[in-house]
Amino acid sequence: MGIGALLGDVVRSLFSKPATEQYPFVRYAAPDRLRGKLVYDPEKCSGCQLCIKDCPSNAIELLVVDKKAKKFVMRYHADRCVYCAQCVDNCRFECLNMSNEQWELASTDKAAFEVMYGKDEDIEYLLQRAAQPGADEPPCE
């Protein structure tokens, strides 16, 4: 019985550095396995779409530019993603990965959350197609 069981720690705390992390000013390296932003490597992708099938939050879309030539563009919605890494687990070709460097994803702009992965020319092609709907459709007779 007694009072002041905390006395030792209280006095010690006064002379030690605060445990508070000075986050924006002092940054610590994230652990290797941190699940941050999803990174996609279009070179290895086979277009099996297994990642999309098991995504709990519909965060991934795969846009097929040319299936035979294995040209794919991935549209990734970082705001929908729950960072569970199930897609990474599902991928048999290791073309998906979760970055441990890009995890400060806050943005005031909604557009920043929609990320396009793929070869530049494919993305451009898709964007162009989106800008002129119906351009590459065969003309109706």
């Binding site: 069981a5 099938k53 569970c84």
Partner: protein, 393 residues
């Protein structure tokens, strides 16, 4: 305290109140400082997760169910994964089971330390609150380095686990456990010897064994009253068969006993984690599970940090469950508050509330609406609307 018209003086705690971290309403009728009546109203954070499970496949459900609770997320996923594996007739490899248990015990440490802090805060002991939460960071960081996330670890997949424990990580965890064990001894001392704190806990909210059994209490709340109820011990699941646990009991049944049971459980966690790390079986991490789960139904029980967690899963042979039902430990423990509260001081109420380590969003699962004078269960939109207006009038 009654006013001139003889009306009762009711102190409402919630839905929004500094003592509550989640919305729930407790109405305490007081006479001066003495509580003479208590009622509980829940359901402010019903999210319809059970229903949502029926429109997603098993893998997606795993992540959805993990989000039932922010503190015991791993346990929910484990319970679900174990149930689905049973339905599919597979068993996860021994190493995967061991890692599941390891994750579960690390989570228990984080949950109990969090609870210790919150309970101290409710008792106005903010320094203890700050210290426990500071030390809790150690276990949070360990979980982050194992799984890649501090809260929703996503360790489980159907048929195993995603992440392995490397030797380097094992050493890190051992170091963390050593540090935490030393700190926990210290907290034990503070909680059981500091007069001001003991004055708030000893002899407060006493629940006898018979009482606890009648009310169906679970988890540390029940064990503090001497009820032998721990799924890890009574019906070992996963790797608890290979790594048995000692059940921590106390017989006093007051708030102090709940502190002691939870803190002693922390020591048991440290011991078990060290044992698992020393004897981690070698095997694969996953077994293949077909997407379509054979038709059938299963009940899966695990011990969450707060008590027994029960999952009922029904499959119709497709890749989506036909019905998922979760019964969380908090739901079993509510009755102990309203029953025990009467006769205590108003100042004891926050600590009594927190004594069961309540999790509101966990248990607001189902809303049953009984229509007066009618047996028809199908309600039209208009009916519901009218009912809502009447209800909140």
């Amino acid at each position: 305290m009654t006013n001139s018209s003889g009306e009762k003086f009711v102190v409402p705690i919630g839905p929004q109140h500094p003592a509550l971290k989640e919305p729930g309403q407790f109405q305490f009728t007081v006479d001066g400082e003495i509580v003479t009546g208590a009622s509980i109203r829940l359901g402010f954070v019903h999210r319809g997760i059970e229903k949502a499970c029926e429109s997603r496949n098993y893998t997606q459900d795993l992540y959805l169910l993990e989000r039932v609770c922010g503190i015991c997320s791993h346990v929910h996923a484990t319970a679900f994964a174990l149930g689905v594996e049973k339905l599919a007739g597979v068993e996860a490899p021994p190493r995967a089971e061991a890692i599941r248990v390891l994750g579960g015990e690390l989570e228990r440490i984080h949950s109990h330390l969090l609870w210790l802090g919150v309970a101290a805060h409710e008792g106005g002991f903010d320094t203890l609150f700050m210290y426990t939460w500071r030390d809790r960071e150690v276990v949070m960081d360990l979980l982050e380095s194992i799984s890649g996330s501090r809260v929703h670890y996503s360790l489980n997949v159907i048929g195993g686990v995603k992440y392995d424990i490397t030797d380097k990580m094992a050493d890190e965890i051992r170091r963390g456990m050593d540090f935490l064990e030393e700190r926990t001894h210290y907290y034990m001392k503070v909680v059981t010897t500091d007069d001001t704190f003991v004055g708030r806990t000893r002899g407060v909210g006493i629940m006898t064994k018979e009482h606890a059994e009648r009310l169906g209490a679970v988890g540390p709340t029940a064990r503090a009253s001497g009820v032998e109820r721990d799924i890890r011990f009574n019906a070992p699941y996963s790797a608890y068969k290979e790594f048995p646990i000692n059940m921590i009991m106390d017989t006093t049944g007051d708030l102090e006993a709940r502190f002691i049971v939870r803190i002693k459980e922390l020591f048991e966690c440290y011991r078990l984690i060290r044992e698992i790390l020393d004897n981690l079986p070698e095997s694969d991490l996953t077994v293949k599970v077909k997407r379509r789960i054979p038709a059938g139904e299963v009940i899966s029980r695990v011990e969450a940090p707060r008590g027994e967690l029960l999952y009922y899963i029904q499959s119709d042979g497709s890749d989506m469950p036909a019905r998922v039902k979760a019964r969380t430990p908090s739901l079993c423990n509510w009755a102990t508050i309203s029953d025990v509260a009467i006769g205590h001081k108003l100042a004891d109420m926050p600590m009594l509330l927190v004594g069961i380590d309540p999790c509101f969003s966990c248990n607001d699962r189902l809303v049953q609406v009984n229509r007066p004078n009618q047996t028809d269960l199908n309600w039209s939109w208009d009916d519901l609307r009218r009912y809502g207006i009447e209800y909140y009038r």
